[in-house]
C-alpha cells in the first residue's frame, strides 16, 4: 500500500483530498489528512461576522464532513517532517510514512510578533478578524461602539487575503452610517505599503474609493509597537497613530512545524517551484495554498486554481512522467466595498488587476476593477459555492485555472514577461 499524506485540512488540503481520492485507486493508495483542529472555517465569512451580517453557523462546519469516503482524517498536531526518512512525526510521537507528501498548512496571524500587541488592550480595544475568536470578540466591541477613532491597520506584508483589511474599512464605513455613528467616528487606514494596495492600477482605484468614503490613509507605516498606555500605534520612525478601537492584521507566518522541519524561509513558507508547485529540492513533496512562497496572493481562489494544476502534477509524478501542468499565479478576489456593492479582481504572475468584464468578454456579467451590485451578490453567492462545490474539488463553470486575457483592458506595459522557475 502506498501512502499519500496531506498536512492541513483547510481549503487547499480538503480540495486535494477530494480530487486525488477520485483519481488514485483505493487498493493501491491510502490517503491520510492530518490537522490539529476538528472545525473547518469559511474564512471569507470572518469579514462579515463583526458586523453581524453572518452568524457562527455560516462560517463553521466539521472538517470530516468535507473529506470523501476513503480518506482518513488524523486529528493531531505535527511535530515535524523528516524528508530524508520520508516520514512525518506527530506531536504524540506517532510516525506517518509517505510516498508523496502535500504541505497545505497555510499561514496564520501571529500578534505576538509586534511588541505590545497582545498586552492589556488585546481583544478589548485591539482586535483582529482573521480567526473565529477574533472576529467574534470584535463583534462584541463594535456593538458597544459609540464613536471615536477607529483604526484599521496592516502590520506587514505578505498577509492572507490582502484585500480583506480594505474591505473591512469599506464595510465599517457602511455599517457606521447605518448605525448613525459615521459622523462620530474618524476612520483611519494604516498600511506599511506606499499606497492602498500592492498592485499599482488597483491601488489607484481603491485609493480614490477610500478618499470618497472619507477614510484617512497613513502609508509607509512600519509598526514598531502598540502602546497600550496611550492607546497608539508607534512606527519605527517614531510616528504615532492613536486609536480608540484598533482593528489590526497581525504579521502572518507559516506553521512553526515548517521551521522545525528546516523546510521554510524566514516567514516559514516553503520555497516552491512557482509553476509545478513542487517543493524546491524535494522530489516527493508538493506545496499548495498559503504555505507556499509563490509570488501571488495568499487566497482561497489561488488554492482552488493550484489544486487543478497540482492534481495533474501529482499524478504525473506518481507515473514517473515530467510535471507538465503549469500554474500561472491566477487569483480571483471579490472586494466588498459597502452599501451592497463590490469589486472583482482577476490577476496572475504576469498581469496585475486591470479593468474589464468577467468571465465573458463584453457580457461579463461581473465587472473587473469596477464597482457593481452584481459583484456584491457574487461574493455572497460564493459562500454556497465554497461549501458545496469548491471544497468537493469540482471545477467552477467558465473559470479556468489559467487566467484569461479576454475581456481585460490591458494598459501598455502592464503585461509582464513570463517568469522563470
Amino acid at each position: 500500500m502506498k501512502e499519500l499524506l496531506i498536512l492541513g485540512a483547510g481549503t487547499a488540503g480538503t480540495i486535494m483530498a477530494n480530487k486525488l481520492r477520485g483519481c488514485l485507486p483505493a487498493a493501491e493508495w491510502r490517503i491520510r489528512v492530518v490537522d490539529e483542529a476538528a472545525d473547518h472555517f469559511y474564512q471569507p465569512g470572518f469579514l462579515f461576522l463583526p458586523f453581524g451580517l453572518y452568524t457562527d453557523r455560516d462560517v463553521v462546519r466539521p472538517r470530516s464532513r468535507f473529506l470523501p469516503r476513503g480518506v482518513e482524517f488524523v486529528q493531531a498536531a505535527v511535530d515535524r517532517i523528516e524528508p530524508d526518512r520520508r516520514r512525518v512525526r506527530l506531536a504524540d510521537g506517532l510516525e506517518l510514512p509517505y510516498d508523496v507528501l502535500l504541505i497545505a498548512t497555510g499561514t496564520r496571524p501571529v500578534p505576538g510578533q509586534v511588541e505590545g500587541m497582545t498586552n492589556g488592550d488585546w481583544r478589548r480595544r485591539v482586535h483582529e478578524f482573521y480567526t473565529f475568536e477574533g472576529a467574534r470578540a470584535l463583534q462584541a466591541s463594535l456593538r458597544d461602539w459609540r464613536g471615536g477613532r477607529l483604526v484599521v491597520h496592516v502590520s506587514e506584508m505578505p498577509i492572507k487575503c490582502p484585500v480583506a483589511p480594505l474591505e473591512f474599512a469599506f464595510l465599517a464605513d457602511w455599517w457606521l452610517t447605518t448605525q448613525g455613528l459615521r459622523d462620530k467616528t474618524e476612520l483611519v487606514y494604516v498600511t506599511p505599503l506606499s499606497g492602498a494596495f500592492t498592485k499599482p492600477i488597483a491601488s489607484q482605484v481603491l485609493s480614490g474609493l477610500l478618499d470618497r468614503k472619507r477614510i484617512r490613509v497613513v502609508t509607509d507605516f512600519a509598526v514598531a509597537r502598540v502602546d497600550n498606555e496611550r492607546h497608539a500605534l508607534v512606527s519605527w520612525d517614531e510616528r504615532d497613530v492613536p486609536y480608540d478601537l484598533l482593528v489590526t492584521v497581525p504579521p502572518n507566518l507559516g506553521a512553526d512545524m515548517i521551521e522545525r522541519s528546516g523546510l521554510g524561509d524566514e516567514m516559514n513558507y516553503v520555497p516552491t517551484e512557482r509553476h509545478t508547485l513542487r517543493a524546491r529540492g524535494h522530489e516527493n513533496i508538493f506545496v499548495i495554498g498559503d504555505a507556499a512562497d509563490v509570488p501571488t496572493s495568499k487566497a482561497g481562489s489561488v488554492a482552488h486554481f493550484e489544486a487543478e494544476v497540482l492534481t495533474e502534477n501529482v499524478l504525473a509524478h506518481i507515473c514517473g512522467e515530467p510535471l507538465s501542468e503549469r500554474f500561472d499565479g491566477h487569483a480571483n478576489c471579490f472586494i466588498e466595498s459597502g452599501f451592497g456593492k463590490g469589486f472583482l479582481l482577476d490577476f496572475n504572475y504576469q498581469l496585475e488587476p486591470v479593468p474589464g468584464r468577467f468571465p465573458f468578454p463584453r457580457l461579463g456579467p461581473l465587472a473587473l476593477l469596477g464597482e457593481s451590485r452584481l459583484n456584491h451578490w457574487g461574493k455572497l453567492a460564493f459562500k454556497w459555492i465554497y461549501w458545496h462545490v469548491l471544497l468537493r474539488g469540482w471545477p467552477i463553470p467558465f473559470v479556468d485555472h489559467r487566467m484569461s486575457l479576454a475581456g481585460k483592458q490591458i494598459p501598455a506595459g502592464a503585461l509582464k514577461a513570463e517568469m522563470a522557475g
Partner: protein, 104 residues
C-alpha cells in the same frame, strides 16, 4: 529611461532614482548616492549594503525586513538608526538595486 551623472559616471536610473543596471554600480557611486540622502556611509552601513547585494544575487529580489532580521542578523531598530525613515528603500537605492517591491 533617464540617465544621471554621479561621481564622474553616467548611470541609467528609473523615475525614482534607482539604478536600472546593477553592473554600473560602484562604491564611489554608492558614497555619492548616500550623500544625496544626507548619509555618511560607515562600516555598519556597508554591512547592510553588502548583505542586500549578495542576497539579491542569490534570490533575485531585495530582501524584506524579516529576512534582514533573521538571515542577515540586523535588528530593525539598528536599521532605522542607520537609514532613517525607510531603511530597505534607502539601502537598496544606495546598493544599486531596484526599489523593493512589497510583493503580492
Amino acid at each position: 529611461m533617464a540617465q544621471k551623472n554621479i561621481a564622474g559616471h553616467t548611470v541609467d536610473v528609473d523615475a525614482e532614482g534607482y539604478l536600472t543596471r546593477p553592473e554600473q554600480w560602484n562604491r564611489a557611486i554608492a558614497e555619492a548616492l548616500a550623500q544625496e540622502l544626507n548619509l555618511q556611509l560607515t562600516d555598519a552601513h556597508w554591512k547592510v549594503i553588502e548583505f542586500l547585494q549578495s542576497d539579491y544575487r542569490e534570490r533575485g529580489t531585495v530582501p524584506g525586513m524579516r529576512r534582514l532580521n533573521k538571515v542577515g542578523g540586523f535588528a530593525t531598530k539598528d536599521l532605522y538608526a542607520l537609514f532613517p525613515d525607510g531603511p530597505i528603500k534607502k539601502a537598496a537605492l544606495i546598493a544599486g538595486l531596484p526599489k523593493p517591491a512589497s510583493c503580492v
